[in-house]
């Protein structure tokens, strides 16, 4: 079908940078623990340069050795520096192609193509990647594969050619508005990450900044008043928060969800463009998550739980579908676009008599902390009893947010850990269902239900604790394929 091709030379550069990134930590370690004597500096310097040159050489050689071609219905790749590897992937095993553009890609009109295959079993390099090819080339590959697959479908199902034209049609399901982007950034939890990175960075600079003399200055400042210190700390936080804000905004700018006949395509990013494609039939469940910062604004994020993804590539398993939207609008935005409906119908709640059990569970977690606090701080440790107030409030929230609902073939579960989740799943996607009943629950006629669905290589479960026993039986009966009542 085509001759063997090389990647764009930029691939060598990205390889090189990637390798260099991996070397940064040993470099820093060397930098920190290395010799401080002056003659060591020269060794360090020449050594570093030698390593960089070797890495660059490996990057270039790797690029020279990598070739790919499309031939006999297969994507064929040959690569490897010391060990020559050949990987042939039949077109019909290819689930999707994910395009992303890094900063280096964009000036040259290049994309990175990640080939997702069905059943990427968790082997080390389960996925195939074309690090840098031109956009035209990428589109050409996509077309060839789509055509090959289309032919296959026609052969097996004998559908009309009209099918092909329809597939190209893309519908925009959702595009992030600037207001939503701002809300998303302000309520994201990235602040902590930036802050800890800053602390780590400052502690690495021991040698460069003359802290000793700086401390004397600081002492003067401190003597001028605690207010100034407070202001400085506050400014530090503010700076970290703004950095996180900008980071999130750049990452999620132009977040767009598109839909073709059998795929969902999500693209995002300002500097680095990313695109991820999820075939509709790989979607196992939809999850709405409301974190404590977003809940007061009525905001939530929506995730698709997908059966795709490998061990190394966990992001294929939980894909962010809507980063921050009003919860009331979710059903409206998604409408008929997904195989799973997300209409928030009223949920059935656990009965009042299970509230004490929720409260008790919450307090049990706190007990060891209180005991430890009293043992260590004696009388002052008694203050830790306040923890019970928090745990009770939290337990009450967990109780209040627990709920379930059955809607035809669909089971919806609402539960809270730290974040409030609502899980929507179809019966055929539920891998197994557990009904649990402890001795204490039996006395109160309560039960616990867990439904497990596939997520990437593993499972995630939706659990709802202490619901009415009759309700639990109803869910169990709903899931059972047998005619006779299981209870």
């Amino acid at each position: 079908m085509s001759n063997s091709k090389r990647l764009h030379p930029i691939a060598a550069v990205t390889n090189f940078i990637k390798q260099l990134k991996e070397l940064i930590i040993p470099f820093i370690a060397f930098f920190v623990f290395g010799t401080k004597a002056s003659e060591g500096d020269l060794w360090f310097f020449t050594g570093s340069i030698a390593i960089v040159i070797v890495v660059l050489g490996i990057g270039v050689l790797n690029w020279l050795r990598f070739s790919y071609r499309l031939e006999e219905g297969e994507l064929r790749m040959e690569y490897g520096l010391l060990v020559r590897k050949k990987r042939y992937i039949p077109f019909d095993r290819i689930q999707s192609l994910d395009f992303s553009e890094g900063i280096l890609h964009r000036p040259f009109g290049l994309v990175k193509v990640k080939v997702e295959t069905a059943g990427s079993s968790g082997t080390a390099d389960a996925e195939a990647v074309l690090t840098a090819i031109t956009k035209d080339e990428a589109n050409r590959i996509q077309e060839i594969i789509a055509q090959a697959k289309g032919k296959l479908v026609e052969e097996t199902f004998d559908t009309e050619v009209a099918n092909k034209a329809e597939r190209v049609e893309e519908k925009v399901v959702y595009k992030i508005s600037s207001k939503e982007l701002l809300l998303l950034a302000t309520t994201s939890g990235g602040v902590g990450v930036v802050l800890s990175a800053m602390v780590a960075f400052l502690s690495q600079l021991d040698d460069l900044i003359p802290y000793e003399s700086a401390y004397h200055e600081v002492e003067k400042v401190i003597s001028n008043g605690i207010v100034i210190v407070a202001v400085l700390v506050f400014l530090g936080f503010l700076l970290a928060w703004v950095a996180a804000l900008i980071g999130t905004m750049v990452k999620f700018a132009q977040f767009t969800v598109k839909k073709t006949e059998r795929e969902i395509i999500i693209s995002r990013g300002l500097l680095e463009k990313r695109q991820i494609t999820i075939p509709l039939n790989r979607i196992q469940a939809i999850r709405i998550s409301e974190n404590i910062l977003r809940q007061p604004f009525g905001l939530c994020s929506v995730y698709m739980i997908s059966a795709g993804g490998s061990v190394r590539n966990a992001e294929g398993a939980k894909v962010l579908l809507l980063p921050a939207v009003k919860k009331a609008q979710v059903a409206h935005i998604l409408q008929e676009h997904l195989p799973i409906s997300t209409t928030s119908q009223p949920f059935n709640s656990p009965p009042k008599r299970s509230l004490p059990r929720y409260l008790l569970r919450g307090s049990l977690i706190v007990v060891p902390f209180v005991i430890a606090a009293i043992a260590i701080f004696k009388l002052w440790g008694l203050l830790s009893i306040l923890l019970f107030v928090f745990s009770s409030a939290w337990s009450y929230l967990i109780y209040k947010d627990a709920g379930w609902g059955i809607e035809g073939q669909q089971l919806n579960i609402q539960y809270r850990g730290l974040i409030k989740h609502t899980l929507f799943m179809k019966k055929p996607n539920v891998q197994s269902l557990d009904y649990k009943e402890s001795i204490f629950q039996r006395r109160k006629n309560l039960a616990t239900m867990t439904s497990l669905i596939k997520s990437g290589m593993g499972a995630i479960g939706g659990t709802i604790v202490d619901i009415e026993k009759e309700d639990a039986k109803e869910i169990y009966q709903w899931y059972s394929h047998s005619q006779k009542a299981p209870f």
């Binding site: 055929p428 402890s438 169990y476 394929h481």
Partner: protein, 158 residues
Amino acid sequence: MNEPQKRISDKALSVWRITGAITSAIMAIMAGGAIWLSNVFSWPVWVVMAAVGAIILHVYLYVYLFPLLRWKRWRYEVREQEIELQQGVFVVKRTLVPMIRVQHVDTRQGPLLKKYGLATVDVSTAATVHEIPALPVEEAEELRQFISRLARVADEDV
């Protein structure tokens, strides 16, 4: 209660008791060490008493009580459309696994199970693994073939 009908082999009781006895023996060695140390350093008497008490309790629970409760509770049933399991000691757990979700079935056998002519059946779905412990070998073999035949009939994409 319409619980699943079939029980696992009653030899499971012996296997679990032996397993419990082995862990108890290991515990006893550790307790022996503690008692010896308390002799050397003349620790208070209650240390020795606690160690002995812990061993007795462990033997009672893991050699006598838990295996019995566990065995009494364990039930399973393989129907045309689904597999149902019931297990637990203090918490009764019942699990439904639809045939269409079954990906493969394994049997396995450790040295202890082998001695008693038993085998464990593992039923795997795309996301979970469910175990039916300690069935007679022929029964386990039959069950494996039976389930894999049914699962193939009910096969369908994930």
